[in-house]
Symmetry: C2
C-alpha cells in the first residue's frame, strides 16, 4: 500500500453522516423525521436540549415532542464526564418502558457529544468509560439526530464524542463509526441567539483544526479539500463585516460540518494538544482554550497566527490573557504531561522527535505566553 | 413529469455515500471490504468492470475476485439503456445461486450507473423502466461499491443512475436514496491511463455543473460550498502545468466526489439541457456534449465561458466543432424539444418564463454555434 495511511486506528475508511438536511427553519422537519422512526411503535423519543433553550425557547415551537417522549435539558457549564453519561443512561433505562426510537441532541458540542455517547451506551450496555478509545463500540446505537445550535466544533459530523473520566483523568472519546450521526439538521436560524464571543471561539475551532491539518505532514487530497473550503468560509465570516448576519451564520454552519468531515482523514497539530492541557488542568472549555493557545503559536503557525489575530481584532473579541501566569510548578508539570501525551498530532506537526522540541522548559515558556 | 435526471424537489434531506476510502493504491482494500460482506455466506460478489481494463489490466492485481464471483466487462461505447440493465439483471438472476453479497462497479459514469441500477433491480424486482423517476425504488439494493477509474461525473456520490428507454426515448435515472453507494474507493492511481481528451471532457463535467449551480437562482450555503471547492480544484488541475500529474489526478478525483455532493442540493442550468439534447438526438456522450455546448454559452455564462476556453487552450484539448451544421429541420425540432423539456434547470438559470428566452429560433441559433 503506497501512502497516506493517514490516520490512527482504522479511520482510513471514513464514515459519513447518513443524511443532512440543510435550510433556514429546517428544524420544523424534525417532527416528520421522528414520526418516520416511530412508525407504528409506541417507543418514545429522547431529546437532549441545551438548557439555554429551556429559558429562551427555540426559534420554532418544537412540535416534534410527543406525549411519552423524554426531554432532558443539558447544562453546559462543564464539559461531559463519563459519570454524567452513565447517570443519564441509567435515568433513561429507568423511565423508558421501551428502547427509544430516536435520540435527538439540540445544542452545541457538549449536547451533541452527550447524545452520541448515550445512544451508544443504551444499546451496547456497560459504562461510558468502557468505550473510551478506538472502535470499542460493538453494535449501532439508537438512531441519533443532531441539531446544532452553535457552529464550529464539527461534533455533528465526527466519529467521536469527547468525555473525561474523573477518576482516571482520561479525556478521550468513543471513537467509532457507530458514533457518527444518522441524521443532522443544519438550521442556521438556531445560531441567531449565540453570544458574540462564544460565536467566535466556537467558530474558530473549525478554522484552527483545519489550519493545523493543512500545516501537518500527514496530508491527503480529500482532507485538504475539506480543510481548504472550511478555512475560506471562516475567512468570509470573520473577516467580513457582520459575522452573525444570516448569510454568515449559514456559512459558518456549513464550515463546521465540512470541518468535521476534514477531521475524518486528517490530524490536528500543536494547538489542540496545548488546548487539551488547559482543559484538563484548568478546566477551560475547548474552544476558548484553543483561542488562548493561539497567543503562543506564532513560531509554529506564523500565517495562521497573523490571520487569527486579524480576525480577533476585526470582530472585537476578548481572548482571556495571562491565565498561566501564577501557576505552581506542579501545575506546569501537569500541563506539560497532558500536552505531550497527544502523540499523533504532535508528530504530525513536529515530527517523531517532537519531545526534543517541546521540552518541559519550552512548554512552560509557551504556556506563560498565554 | 420528465425533466432532467439531476434534481427535483424531494432532495432536501440529502443522503451521503455511507463510507469513502481515499488513497493511492486504495483498491487493494477492496478484497477486505468484500470479505466483510461475505462473512460466512457463500453468496458471490458481482463485478462490473469497464472493458478497457479487460485489455489493459488494473494497476493492482484484483485479488478481490473469488472463485464463485461473477465478473462482467462493460462496454462503454453507448450510454446505458433500460434494455441493457434488464438483460444484465436477468443474466445475474440466472447464474447466481444466491443473492450476491456485494456488487462492485469499477469504471466511469457508465459502469457506476449500471452497477447502481442492477443493484436496485436485483432486490426490487421488475424492469429498469419501472424505476425511472423519483423515489420509486422501494427497498435497499444489493450492497454496492464504486471504484471510479475516471473523474468528473460524480456518479460515485449522486442518487441517480442515468439510462435511456429506447422504446419511449425517455432519458431519466432511478432517483432514489437507495441509489447512493454504500462504499466508494477513491484511488487516484486508477486514472493514470485515461486518454488526454477524455480526462478533460469528463473532468469538466464537475466544473460545468458546479458553475451552473453557482450561477442559478436556487442556491444554498452547503451546495455553494461544495461547488466552490470543486471549481477551485478544477482550476488547480486544468490551469496547472500537468493536468494528469499524481497530485492533479488526486485533486480531480476529489473534485468529482465533491461535485457529486454539490448536485444533491442544487440545480444545473443551461448547459446540461442543451447537452442532453445532443445526447438524445445525436447520441453524443454526456461529457464531450457538455464541452461542445460551451461553444455557445458566452451569453449565459460569460466568466465560465472565458475560463473554460482558457482551460481548453492551456491543455491543448480538441473539442468537436460544427456538429449541428448540417442537420435537418426535423432534427432541430427534436433538439429543441429535448432541451426545453428540462424545466427545473432552465427555470433555475433563466426564470419561469425561460421559453420566452429560449424560443425555437433562439435554440437553433445556439445549436448552430456549436
Amino acid at each position: 500500500m503506497t501512502n497516506t495511511s493517514v490516520l490512527n486506528t482504522g479511520i482510513r475508511n471514513a464514515r459519513n453522516v447518513s443524511r443532512y438536511l440543510y435550510g433556514q427553519g429546517a428544524i420544523v422537519d424534525l417532527a416528520g423525521i421522528i414520526a418516520n422512526r416511530r412508525g407504528t411503535s409506541t417507543a418514545p423519543a429522547v431529546f437532549f436540549i441545551d438548557s439555554f433553550f429551556e429559558l429562551h425557547g427555540l426559534p420554532q415551537k418544537l412540535d416534534a415532542v410527543a406525549h411519552d417522549d423524554h426531554v432532558i435539558y443539558v447544562d453546559t457549564i462543564n464539559e461531559p464526564t463519563t459519570d454524567q453519561i452513565n447517570l443519564l443512561k441509567n435515568q433513561l433505562v429507568k423511565v423508558c418502558k421501551e428502547t427509544p426510537c430516536a435520540i435527538v441532541g439540540i445544542g452545541g458540542g457538549i449536547t451533541m457529544d452527550i447524545t452520541k455517547a448515550v445512544s451508544n451506551l443504551l444499546t451496547n450496555g456497560g459504562n461510558a468509560e468502557d468505550y473510551q478509545g478506538w472502535d470499542l463500540v460493538k453494535v449501532p446505537g439508537i438512531f441519533k439526530i443532531a441539531v446544532p445550535t452553535i457552529s464550529g466544533t464539527g461534533a455533528e459530523s465526527t466519529r467521536t464524542c469527547v468525555m473525561t473520566n474523573p477518576s482516571s483523568g482520561l479525556k478521550l472519546g468513543m471513537n467509532s463509526d457507530f458514533t457518527v450521526y444518522d441524521q443532522i439538521i443544519l438550521d442556521p436560524d438556531l445560531t441567531r441567539t449565540v453570544l458574540h464571543n462564544q460565536y467566535f471561539y466556537t467558530g474558530m475551532d473549525a478554522y484552527i483544526h483545519c489550519m493545523e491539518s493543512l500545516n501537518g505532514s500527514y496530508r491527503n487530497a480529500i482532507g485538504d479539500a475539506y480543510s481548504d473550503q472550511t478555512i475560506r468560509l471562516c475567512r468570509d465570516v470573520f473577516l467580513g463585516d457582520a459575522m452573525m448576519s444570516d448569510e454568515n451564520r449559514a456559512k459558518l454552519m456549513v464550515a463546521s460540518y465540512l470541518g468535521g468531515c476534514a477531521i475524518a482523514t486528517s490530524y490536528v497539530g500543536v494547538v489542540h494538544p496545548f488546548s487539551a492541557g488547559l482543559s484538563v488542568v484548568l478546566g477551560i472549555h475547548h474552544c476558548v482554550a484553543n483561542c488562548i493557545v493561539m497567543r503562543a503559536m506564532e513560531q509554529f503557525y506564523p500565517e495562521g497566527y497573523r490571520e487569527f489575530w486579524q480576525m480577533v481584532e476585526y470582530q472585537g473579541v476578548a481572548i482571556p490573557e495571562g491565565i498561566c501566569r501564577d501557576l505552581t510548578d506542579e501545575q506546569h508539570d501537569r500541563l506539560y504531561e497532558s500536552t505531550v501525551i497527544h502523540q499523533k498530532p504532535l508528530i504530525n506537526a513536529l515530527g517523531e522527535n517532537y519531545k526534543d522540541i517541546l521540552t518541559r522548559e519550552k512548554a512552560k515558556e509557551i504556556f506563560l505566553k498565554m
